[in-house]
């Protein structure tokens, strides 16, 4: 006999790809060396998670589909007006600001992945001769050929783009977490629990 309001809910695929991406980004930033093999693997893993989430945006469950949260600056402005006026609309997926943030995060990740693959090429093979610490922090593909190897122009461009996009991603993540915190304070903790394992 509980009262049931229509609720948006995230399916397990949204949750697993979300926390998978978050985990890879955090672990990569904290413990993985910049030019290491593990870093390249992290990039390919992100590519897989992002590709799966995008596929899910077309064929997934109702709340997960892109058609449920179309990017719309005018609705985002409308949402800001709602916040100002203290109105609480029920959204079937991300709220219009959250939707813009989701697309921004994905676009940023896509640029990072593409430029990273542009620099690194295919995932390097790993065999037993590579120790864990080499895997995580050793420089891959440099050193033996002379570290002052000429970088091609394309490579320099990829490097530049990669760096800018990564910094932008960190800014977006900070904004994203601030946004989630704000929405949680405004609309209740269901904002967060909906994204947690087992939460509805």
């Amino acid at each position: 006999m509980t009262v049931h309001t229509p609720t948006r809910r995230w399916d397990p695929l949204v949750k697993i790809t979300h926390w998978g991406v978050a985990a890879v980004v955090v672990v990569n930033a904290l413990i993985v060396g910049e030019g290491s093999i593990a870093h390249i693997y992290a990039g390919y893993t992100l590519a897989a998670l992002l590709a799966l989430r995008i596929l899910w945006g077309f064929i997934g469950t109702y709340s997960a589909r892109f058609s449920s949260f179309k990017p719309s600056p005018s609705r985002a402005l409308g949402h800001i007006a709602d916040i100002r006026a203290g109105r609480h609309e029920v959204h079937k997926s991300h709220n219009p600001l959250g939707a813009l943030m989701a697309y921004a995060l994905w676009a940023c990740l896509a640029v990072i992945i593409a430029s990273g693959i542009g620099m690194a090429g295919a995932p390097p093979a790993v065999d037993a001769s590579i120790s864990a610490s080499e895997f995580i922090s050793g420089e891959y593909g440099e050193g033996s050929e002379g570290s002052e190897r000429e970088e091609s122009q394309a490579e320099e461009l990829f490097e530049e783009v990669h760096e800018i996009a990564v910094n932008l991603l960190y800014v977006l993540i900070a904004l994203h977490i601030a946004g989630v915190a704000f929405e949680t304070a405004r609309s209740g903790k269901r904002t967060i629990t909906a994204m947690l394992p087992g939460g509805k």
């Binding site: 006999m1 509980t2 049931h4 399916d11 397990p12 695929l13 697993i16 790809t17 998978g20 390919y44 893993t45 590519a47 897989a48 998670l49 590709a51 799966l52 596929l55 899910w56 064929i59 997934g60 469950t61 693959i117 090429g121 295919a122 995932p123 394992p197």
Partner: protein
């Protein structure tokens, strides 16, 4: 909130994360494999080796897509079951509320009747409501009298009877299929 019916939908829900986890691992495997195959292919040397790689890549992608599709179906079925259960719960609650009003049960009697219908024993009800067992027994007697029945069993039957009548009236066992499960046909 603690009855058996919910666990049926939860059981359906619980399989989904496992399927999703497999899909995620498959997607990661597919990406690594395709990146590797792409290097081989750009290196030229067309042959059986490359043909095999392309086939495996396609199979992996098909596995991911099928897994995703299956996930969506399972999620939607679980969701629909839950909704059907909500609707059924709502209907039962409505019928009970209207009967209780009709019988002019007091607030205390209404609560006792609800617990009794949920299957609680008299000592349990006394415990839950923090009153003496004698009080509960007296209240139950009053409830049976107002409802015109002589036992708890007969009281439950009243509601079951109502529900089954409602169901056949609306043709749920006939043309209008039940929301999910379809065990009637």
């Amino acid at each position: 909130m603690t009855n058996g019916a919910i666990t049926t939908t939860q059981r359906g829900d619980r399989r989904i994360p496992v399927v999703v986890a497999i899909v995620v691992v498959q997607a990661i495997a597919a990406v690594f494999f395709i990146a590797d195959a792409a290097v081989d292919i750009t290196a030229g040397e067309w042959g059986l080796h490359i043909l095999a790689e392309v086939l495996i890549a396609l199979a992996l992608l098909a596995g991911v897509a099928l897994g995703a599709w299956q996930t969506r179906r399972m999620f939607e079925t679980a969701h629909r079951n839950e909704q059907a259960l909500q609707i059924a719960r709502g209907a039962v609650a409505e019928i009970m509320a209207s009967r209780f009003i009709e019988w002019r049960l007091t607030d205390a009697e209404t609560e006792v009747a609800l617990f009794a219908l949920k299957g609680c024993e008299t000592p349990e009800i006394a415990d839950l409501r923090q009153v003496a067992e004698g009080t509960v027994r007296a209240q139950l007697t009053a409830i049976y009298a107002k409802a015109g029945v002589s036992s708890r069993h007969a009281l439950s039957s009243l509601f079951l009877e109502d529900l089954i009548e409602v169901s056949t009236d609306k043709g749920i066992f006939g043309k209008g299929a039940p929301p999910e499960g379809g065990d009637a046909n």
